[in-house]
Point group: C3
Chain length 246, copies 3
């Protein structure tokens, strides 16, 4: 079964998501699923890491429609990427940095709404193309192959024998600080955070003070039980952190 | 295919939306779609403009169920309006100001939940009536024709040969100030905003300082790239604005 | 028709809800319904009262999947309760205090995702079990009968001939203060609130000043028309209130 999953920074207070869903529902019976509409406005980074953590849990045939698009109306491309049977439809602005697959540039204007706006491609371009894909259109029919997709300015962690340097890539609603340091890649058995110095490693969100925990993505997280580690430790997304042997 | 689209000011933290969905799901297999639950509490104006921008993108057979209802329990009517095959079920409080169609007053109490409350018609009246409509009930069976629906206290723009006076009717989450001045109705080719004075007209959300842009509804919007024009310009909904030849 | 209803404290900004939906959609065609993701983080009490007000409106065959789980990864049980044909899947932490039925402990690890995390049972345990239940698995197959479920530290109201002592159990987005005092149990015809002293009883959200109203759950609420009673009266959840004859 094909389905359309929506990932936007629109919120739901404004009529944008409702209009997109209407265009899709007008053109396909495929289910429309809200993944999120709460990506921070214009935050391509947040959307890219959202997709990295979320998309792999979905079945083949899901058409992820990603509208986090500060460059709407500029010559930025719209691309569709087939990643092992999942399709990602998105502006080419880095939001698909962690999606590996075959990309096509969406240029087949016959699929767009006629007389569309320059400001709301979510409704006028993404929605009808997503519906067409849900109805079975192949991505080859969208336009030519696209190479050199835009990528985030992001440095992957460096795993050294005596230290691992990584980055806080997300902060969740609980205030957990999520790094990109994968536990399975750390080349030493016991580890601690260097600065701020945190030695306790827990498997549950419990106990006193800050601790490290392997989160749901398999990466090191910095956490405080029932409180926001981000607030307490004054750390923010993008901050560099170092893990050392304990 | 019929479907029920929900438009409320309930938020989703409280059990109100969940209860409404349960009543609908108990009575029909028609899909239930969240349009929005984030209309500001009691804000009939916001809901009316939300509907104006959103509903036209949906197919026939959609039953929009609008519960923004500060007068719940008072003698205000509930009405159902058939607008070219879309049905709008709403309190008669102005929220359907921009919906044109044949209206019936919802008075057939056999459709309501028995022993319903005076405080939550969303669950006790709107939900079961929406489900009945989704199952094929015609609006004639809801009650008698209704005329003179309540309308918003709203003045449409005046398009003069040398100036157009309009209103900021909405502010979206990005801080864009959305007026009701339709580009296609402005009787001069080049235009500017009079006060605050804004001469730049853009087709994309880019460049320095405030600019005018034709937004997704075809109306003039005041915007700042990647920032809130509402905050920067200290303008608010309801403020009058004037467009003049450039 | 079976369906999965989601009740979480995850919000939708983070990838948690999207990942859960993906796991469910990978394993069942049953519809997935968002009840709420806006329970306050870790707030078991709020979730318990949410469920009390919301669940009874749903049909049999609904699988409510409740992930408000501050103790994730600790030895707290996961339980499934069959309550007259509705199934509640939840951590055993008090969130099902008001659900009466036959409980089983979820211990059949073959249903869980392999190599699951200790931090995100919503995705790794709740979601695949919910999908299995939606596909027809019986709760007997989840694990042994479970007794002595954890209950909230909550005192039900005392209905005396001359006074009723109760508790403010919820505050909704409109600022209504919702007590647990059921109108139908009050043993006197006319009633008033003792402190703060409120004598006016209304059937609609209208008029000047604070008033009492029988809300959608049949309980006494304290309200102010188009304003927040919680803010104006400086009352909070857990505060005790007394109703006396008027």
């Amino acid at each position: 079964m094909r389905r359309v999953g929506l990932i936007t920074d629109f919120g739901t207070r404004d009529p944008y998501v409702g209009a997109m869903k209407g265009v899709i529902a007008s053109r396909t019976e495929a289910p429309i699923v809200d993944c999120t509409h709460e990506i921070a406005p214009f935050d391509v980074w947040e959307a890219a890491f959202y997709i990295r953590a979320m998309a792999r849990w979905w079945p083949d045939g899901t058409i992820f429609t990603v509208v986090v698009d500060p460059g709407v109306g500029t010559p930025r491309r719209i691309v569709a990427v087939d990643s092992a049977g999942q399709i990602f439809l998105a502006p080419d602005n880095g939001v698909l940095t962690f999606v590996i697959g075959i990309a096509h540039s969406v240029e087949n204007e016959s699929l767009f709404l006629p007389d569309g706006s320059t400001t709301f491609h979510g409704r006028d371009r993404f929605a009808p193309v997503a519906a067409a894909l849900a109805n079975g259109l192949s991505i080859e029919q969208l336009g030519p192959r696209a190479d050199d997709l835009v990528r985030l300015d992001y440095t992957a962690p460096a795993y050294d024998r005596r230290r691992v340097d990584g980055t806080i890539v997300a902060i969740d609603r609980f205030g957990n600080l999520i790094t990109d340091i994968e536990r399975s890649h750390i080349p030493f058995a016991a580890f601690a955070l260097q600065a701020p110095s945190i030695a306790r490693v827990s498997t549950t969100y419990s106990g006193e003070g800050p601790f490290l925990i392997i989160g749901s993505t398999g990466c090191v997280e910095i956490s405080i039980a029932a409180a926001s580690a981000a607030t307490a430790l004054k750390l923010k997304r993008g901050d560099r952190v170092t893990v050392v042997p304990a």
